[in-house]
């Protein structure tokens, strides 16, 4: 599904990713852990197409396409989704309108018919029920006045509605209390399927108690320095990242 080979990338004028390689197959869940400033969020932003992050070398193939040559909206339409670390507030635009606009833009790109408002309403009401979230989320302006936890839940809800093929969760667990963490994790677990993959960027092992990863990678100084199974996350929790300096 996703093959990142020896990628170099700058955030602004600073070199952040320095020869990162990673392969994600359909249905796999990869956790990316690492110290502050290692390049975890830059990786997520690079894959989603943030203009501030510019590739300098290497390649990213996604379902046979050169991902880095596509606009952010094209990447979304072919199934790439980034759950933001800091979701953006958009006053005056309600969640329902925003999501329907996004979904129909993606469907149009893929040559599918637009979903009318009645169909859409039925679908989102079912989704919000399945994901155990409150339906007042739909009527409120996008992320405006949301608590930190509500913003993260809204990201997971958007993911549920847009049904991406590759979901990148950038520190979705940060700022969540334990109940909110469970709701977010349940939302992700419901979406797990044989043809949907996840890259979960996190600082802490606790999210991985609820979302079991197939692989855990340690990202340090712009590249992956160690990979393993879920036990690696437990080791990191015990040992921290001090060993990287040895």
């Amino acid at each position: 599904m996703l093959k990142i080979e020896n990628v170099f990338a700058n955030a602004g004028d600073k070199e952040i990713l320095k020869g990162l390689s990673l392969e994600v197959k359909p249905g796999e869940v990869h956790a990316i852990m690492g110290p502050n400033g290692a390049g975890k969020s830059t990786l997520g932003n690079l894959l989603a197409g943030m203009p501030y992050v510019q590739p300098q070398g290497g390649s990213v193939q996604y379902m046979g396409k050169d991902l880095l040559s596509l606009e952010p909206e094209e990447r979304a339409a072919i199934g790439v989704f980034l759950a933001f670390q800091y979701p953006v507030e958009i006053p005056g635009v309600n969640n329902m309108y925003f999501l329907r606009t996004a979904l129909n833009a993606q469907r149009k790109y893929r040559g599918e018919d637009a979903m009318d408002s009645a169909q859409f309403l039925r679908m989102v009401k079912q989704k919000i029920k399945d994901m155990n979230m409150r339906d007042d989320l739909l009527k409120r302006p996008v992320n405006v006045g949301f608590s930190g936890g509500e913003k993260k839940r809204n990201e997971v809800f958007q993911m549920g509605v847009l049904e991406p093929k590759l979901a990148i969760l950038d520190e979705t667990d940060s700022g969540l209390d334990i109940d909110a963490l469970k709701i977010v994790a349940d939302g992700v677990n419901q979406l797990r399927s044989a043809d949907r993959s996840f890259i979960i960027i996190t600082h802490y092992q606790r999210l991985l108690d609820y979302i079991e990863p197939d692989f855990v990678h340690v990202l340090a100084d712009g590249k992956i320095v160690k990979s393993g199974d879920k036990n690696l996350a437990l080791e990191l929790e015990e040992q921290g990242y001090g060993w990287l300096n040895n």
Partner: protein, 395 residues
């Protein structure tokens, strides 16, 4: 002043002829006197120029420009007055106030011919407002629109619809709202090169929601001077949308004349191509315990220009006044210009006042957020602009 008459208003001979002609058409004597007085005053003033604060950011040559030179091919969708079933529609055209049919008993309209001279609102226009003094001199259409209190809020829809679109049309609407009246007034432009004075003379306990919806094609021009005389326990909400046009120049003067009232205004100014828009709000807190809340959201694109100015003057003794001025502006292209100026002049001791002004581009992170959900960049910008405007929607 010679420049103003010869270059902008009219050739002196033509002006004299026109005034003479209007005498023959039985303009009341009192109005002739007002005009003579305006003529004497205007002759002492200079033509509008960039030396004046309120015209500094506008190409004043556009005032005299032949509108044909813009060669606009845009047309407005005609506003269908008969479809406004819940409103009394007043169309203002070459024939004056038309389209009303039979006036409801709560509404009285008196044109200049049957209006009492005592009802004529006297202004003391200065150089900055010389274009409105020109209205005093050349006013052709208008009168006194008196509205009584009713059991339900009432709706009035004013439409400017002139067939002849090259020459300036001078209009004065004086609204007089009775004690306790609740009125929604929508003022909308359809066709015509308009110079209008609106006077809102409000009694105590009035609730006025006013919407000023001026959307012009690239050759059209609209100048307005809007005065709100606000006594006690009055609520005024004034929503302005100024979109496009070769030239738009709007001045709002708000006078708090007693206590316990609130004025809230929102302005959305949108310019593109080569539009010039000026939006000035002057609030005079002459008495204590009044509140004014002025919000502007302006968006400029291409080579267009916008000037925003919100000024509040709080007089000595006008304690417990509350003032907020919030002016935010977005530039969508490198050649567009916005000049934004919030001003507070406070002479009272106990006042709560806040003002702010920002100018910038659309937030890149928010744009990326929308794009990352599949929305293309043009639609993402539209959504961002819609979101930006929301805070100025006051009614």
């Amino acid at each position: 002043m010679v420049g103003l008459i010869t270059d902008w208003l009219k050739q002196p001979e033509k002006l004299a002829q026109e005034l003479e002609q209007q005498k023959a058409d039985e303009i009341p004597a009192w109005l002739q006197e007002k005009r003579q007085s305006a003529l004497q005053k205007i002759q002492t003033m200079k033509a509008p120029s960039r030396r004046l604060e309120s015209w500094r950011y506008t190409d004043v040559n556009r005032l005299i420009k032949d509108l044909d030179s813009f060669q606009s091919t845009e047309h407005h969708e005609k506003i269908n007055a008969t479809e406004k079933k819940d409103s009394v529609v007043i169309v203002i055209d070459e024939s004056g106030y038309t389209g009303i049919g039979e006036c409801p008993d709560w509404l009285t309209i008196q044109t200049f011919n049957n209006m009492s001279p005592g009802d004529w609102h006297e202004f003391d226009f200065d150089s900055e407002s010389v274009v409105s003094l020109a209205n005093d001199l050349l006013v052709q259409t208008g009168g006194l629109i008196s509205i009584k209190k009713t059991s339900q809020p009432i709706n009035i829809h004013i439409v400017y619809a002139f067939d002849e679109i090259d020459d300036w049309k001078y209009i004065r609407n004086q609204f007089k709202l009775a004690h306790g009246a609740e009125v929604n007034i929508i003022e909308q432009h359809q066709t015509g090169r308009i110079n209008v004075i609106n006077v809102y003379d409000l009694a105590d306990h009035v609730v006025l929601n006013r919407s000023h919806d001026i959307r012009l094609n690239s050759s059209e021009q609209f100048i307005s001077f809007n005065l709100f005389e606000i006594p006690e326990n009055v609520t005024v909400t004034n929503m302005n949308q100024h979109i496009g046009g070769s030239l738009q120049h709007h001045t709002h003067a708000i006078n708090f004349n007693k206590t316990g009232s609130k004025y809230t205004s929102g302005s959305i100014n949108k310019s593109f191509d080569n539009n010039h828009i000026t939006d000035i709000v002057n609030v005079n807190h002459s008495f204590k315990n009044n509140q004014s809340d002025v919000t502007h959201r302006s968006i400029a694109k291409d080579q267009s220009q916008i000037f925003n100015n919100a000024k509040a003057l709080v007089a000595v003794g006008a304690d417990q006044s509350e003032i907020e001025q919030d002016l935010k502006n977005v530039l969508l292209s490198p050649d567009a210009k916005i000049f934004s100026k919030p001003e507070l002049e406070v002479y009272a001791d106990e006042v709560v006042a806040a003002h702010g002004s920002t100018i910038g581009a659309l937030d890149e992170t928010a744009l990326f957020y929308l794009r990352s959900r599949g929305i293309n960049i043009d639609q993402a910008r539209d959504i961002m602009i819609e979101s930006f405007e929301q805070e100025a929607w006051v009614c």
